[in-house]
């Protein structure tokens, strides 16, 4: 039969495309490591690839990544969930309450449930009542902040180590260290060898005191990619974000999939809140997420609505965040990284023939270079905004190639098919 012949050529074309994608990821990673290593040696800012910095980067990235995954789930089904921030806040309270009463594992579940509750609210407003997604999301953020503040005061004031605005002394979750490997890698990291020490630092960060929640998050990212792109459930869910009318005309229950998506979305954001309260810190405080829900949404956009892209973006944000907290002086070295990155990108754009943008990028890159060469430190006022500036910069550069789901943010009414 002639079909078998076609059969073989098609998957190989597909495999080639996917293979190329992964090659690009690895290439970018490699270039980043080499650049960081060069900058480390040139500036002597050992902190920028120290194992401790990278470990802090992962800790900082995790809640953002969870918020990003939450955003990914809902936006792939066509619902903009700007309420991630509020759902995260609900999660921090849920984590604290349930951990205090039933232990940390139930605390995780409780956080996810509280987040999902926020998601349900968003779903009710946007799916059933057709409220504008942004309006509903902003409302949920306000409700999330108000509700957690109120609930904390109502419940935690009487608890041991509790107060109207915080609850500390919560049981933590276990950390995992790979014995042997961890120490060896760390000492290798301290040697200061070109590239090898930097890679060792990265691996040490991945093998030393890794929270089980971090491992859970890694599983979630892989699972999200697998469910959304390799199951019929995922196909249906994504079709609701691309063309809900078409999906409905084929017998997909659009409302149901949107609800599932927004519930999962809220649940993941809630889990992100739990990470903040139980892993990154040792207790609950009000307004603990402090804008990470929004950053997660930005990370998802910069990650092109793709789980691994979101992972990369979250790590980038986590890295700059960790760097500014641990060693403000290393932020100065980061200027050089940014300058090199911009100049390289400018050269690439120039090679592509986009003269104007290449020149503009080149000038900005040169300005960073001059800034780096003429100063010794970055003013304290600026270091605090490093993560945001870097995110903004990367988003601005990447935004040309981004492709949101086609029906993202649009209100869908049942029966629009035909």
């Amino acid at each position: 039969m002639s079909t078998t012949q076609v059969d073989k050529s098609a998957p190989s074309e597909r495999a080639r495309k996917i293979g190329g994608m992964y090659r690009t990821y690895w290439l970018v990673m490699l270039v980043a490591v080499v650049a960081l290593s060069l900058v480390r040696i040139a500036t002597g800012a050992d902190d920028i690839t120290a194992a401790n910095t990278l470990r802090a980067a992962i800790l900082s990235a995790c809640p953002i990544l969870l918020a990003g995954m939450g955003g990914l789930w809902s936006e792939r089904a066509g619902i903009v969930n700007i309420g991630l921030e509020g759902q995260m806040l609900l999660g921090t309270w849920g984590a604290a309450y349930f951990t205090y009463n039933y232990g940390p594992w139930v605390g995780l579940l409780g956080a996810a449930a509280m987040g999902a509750l926020g998601g349900l609210l968003h779903g009710l407003a946007t799916i059933t009542f057709g409220v504008d997604h942004i309006v509903s999301g902003v409302a949920i953020n306000i409700i999330g902040l108000g509700a957690t503040t109120f609930l904390a005061e109502a419940f935690f004031s009487d608890y041991q180590y509790g107060g109207p605005r915080q609850l500390t002394g919560l049981d933590g979750l276990p950390f995992v260290t790979v014995p042997g490997l961890s120490d060896g890698l760390k000492s290798l990291n301290d040697q200061g060898w070109f590239v090898i020490s930097d890679l060792a630092g990265l691996l040490a960060a991945l093998t030393t005191k890794v929270s089980v929640v971090t491992i859970l998050i890694a599983v979630i990212v892989v699972l999200t990619a697998w469910i959304l792109w390799h199951t019929s459930f995922g196909l249906r869910l994504r079709s609701c974000g691309e063309n809900p009318a078409a999906a409905e005309s084929l017998g997909v229950n659009v409302y149901r999939y949107k609800y599932v998506a927004v519930l999962v979305s809220g649940g993941l954001a809630g889990l992100g809140g739990a990470f903040l309260a139980l892993v990154a810190a040792s207790g609950f405080t009000t307004n603990q997420s402090n804008g990470r829900g929004y950053i997660g949404l930005a990370a998802m956009i910069f990650g092109n609505w793709n789980p691994f892209g979101t992972l990369g973006a979250s790590l980038l944000f986590g890295y700059t965040d960790a760097l500014r907290l641990r060693s403000p002086s290393a932020v100065h070295a980061l200027l050089l990284v940014v300058a090199i990155g911009l100049l390289a990108y400018a050269a690439w754009r120039f090679y592509q023939g986009a003269r104007t943008s290449a020149i503009v990028l080149g000038l900005i890159g040169a300005a960073f270079l001059v800034w780096f060469l003429t100063t010794d430190t970055v003013p304290r006022e600026f270091t605090g905004m490093t993560p945001y500036v870097v995110t903004l910069l990367v988003l601005a550069l990447a935004s040309q190639r981004l492709r949101p789901p086609a029906a993202d943010g649009q209100v869908y009414r049942k029966g629009s098919a035909g």
């Binding site: 079909t3 019929s232 079709s239 691309e242 078409a246 084929l250």
Partner: protein, 517 residues
Amino acid sequence: MPAAPPAPGASSTEAVIEAPEVRLIGIGKRFPGVIANHDVEVTIRPATVHALIGENGAGKSTLMKILYGVQKPDDGTIEVGGTERSFRTPTDAIGVGIGMVFQHFMLADNLTALENAVLGAEKLHGIGDKARAEFESISERYGFGLRPDVLVEKLGVADRQRLEILKVLFRGAKVLILDEPTAVLVPQEVDALFANLRDLRAHGHSILFISHKLDEVLAIADDITVMRRGTTVGSAVPGEVTKQELAEMMVGSELPSPETSESTVTDVVQLSLSGVTLTDDAGRDLLSDISFDIHRGEILGIAGVEGNGQAELVETVMGMRRLTSGRILLGEEDVTDWDTRRLRESGVGYIPEDRHRHGLLLDSPLWENRILGHQTRPPSVKGPWINRSGARKDTRRIVDEYDVRTPGIDTVARALSGGNQQKLIIGREMSGDPVLLIASHPTRGVDVGAQAAIWSHIKRARHDGLAVLLISADLDELIGLSDRIEVILRGRMVGTFDPAGVTPKDLGAAMTGGGEA
């Protein structure tokens, strides 16, 4: 009319799946204030192409939605293969082997062809290699030539339609409903589609073919049912009726035609484009070196397959896009750098392609819609203020002169039918003595009555010395109205035709780059 080719060797290897007979008996459907269908009787014989014809608004689409389970009938029964069925959702209809290809494609651009086909039918063949094999085998069997891993956004219109048909076949449908499938195709693509349909028929499928294009119906159908005002008014067999007879059954009276009378072309150039080029951000040419003149009293028709630069051309002339090089003259003046408002104030009227997105505020009353585009000119404004009474009075004039059927000028635009919305837009654009009218698909989606009225307004304006740039996908309209036709292909003008001697076939060939330029 193309002769039916013999059905290609369907018999040898493939098992012929015999479609069941479908009968619609006494179907009725009422919406608040309208009777969409009443006493509809249709019988579709197995393995035939059954054409359902009627004007816009005759109730064809409602009937299709009933047969496909999108809407529930108020009266009547549906029989499939002799068994009475009732469908609550499309899934029920798919379950008994009825599939539908909508007029507006139901495809997700950012998913692959395979994903679109599999969606909703994952249980049949999974979503992996088995589904891929099934996809390829269907594509092979009917000669669709579709590849499973291409993103739908990369597919052309004809391929999208084939994908829609494949999608239905993937679900094992025996009866296919095609709602105006030829509306978006050029003549050559229509021939290819018909070859596909004959092939499907030879494999034992039944096809319900909805159209109002009589040539096509006579070319493809085995049976014809005619609908008018929500009910079936007769049936016919091709070969035994003429086009004229069918048309009269459809309309119930004589047909209007777009034919213009004597030429009114003067030698005063009203709009002149020279070397107009438009490049997008990526450096590709959307329009390349376009030059033409339109004289006063002349209608220049632009023919082209949608997406070949018509929209960009209109937006460039209207000042919505900045051209990369070239010059535009309006009368004596160089208007190349003018913005849209200045152009409109100097007498350019514009009937946009999509009246809902660009022509009207659907939730605003008619008199506010009258002000749009005239927000700097009397009678809509007085100094910096909106002249409420002036605008309302002028809206009443438009409603009367252009026969806009509406309860009043405070009605919101959404409540009007497409034809009446369009008449309001035309009335508005003809206000304030325009010198140039740009009409994009002026009669798209309007009924025959409104179509005739719109044609006569355009003809009268031409007679009064208006220059008209007409873009239309309806080749009969182009040939009937235009004094000259230019064909656009991939942003270039590829040929000039005299409407007196050109057939839709010739235009179609030029539109796809098939014919000599």
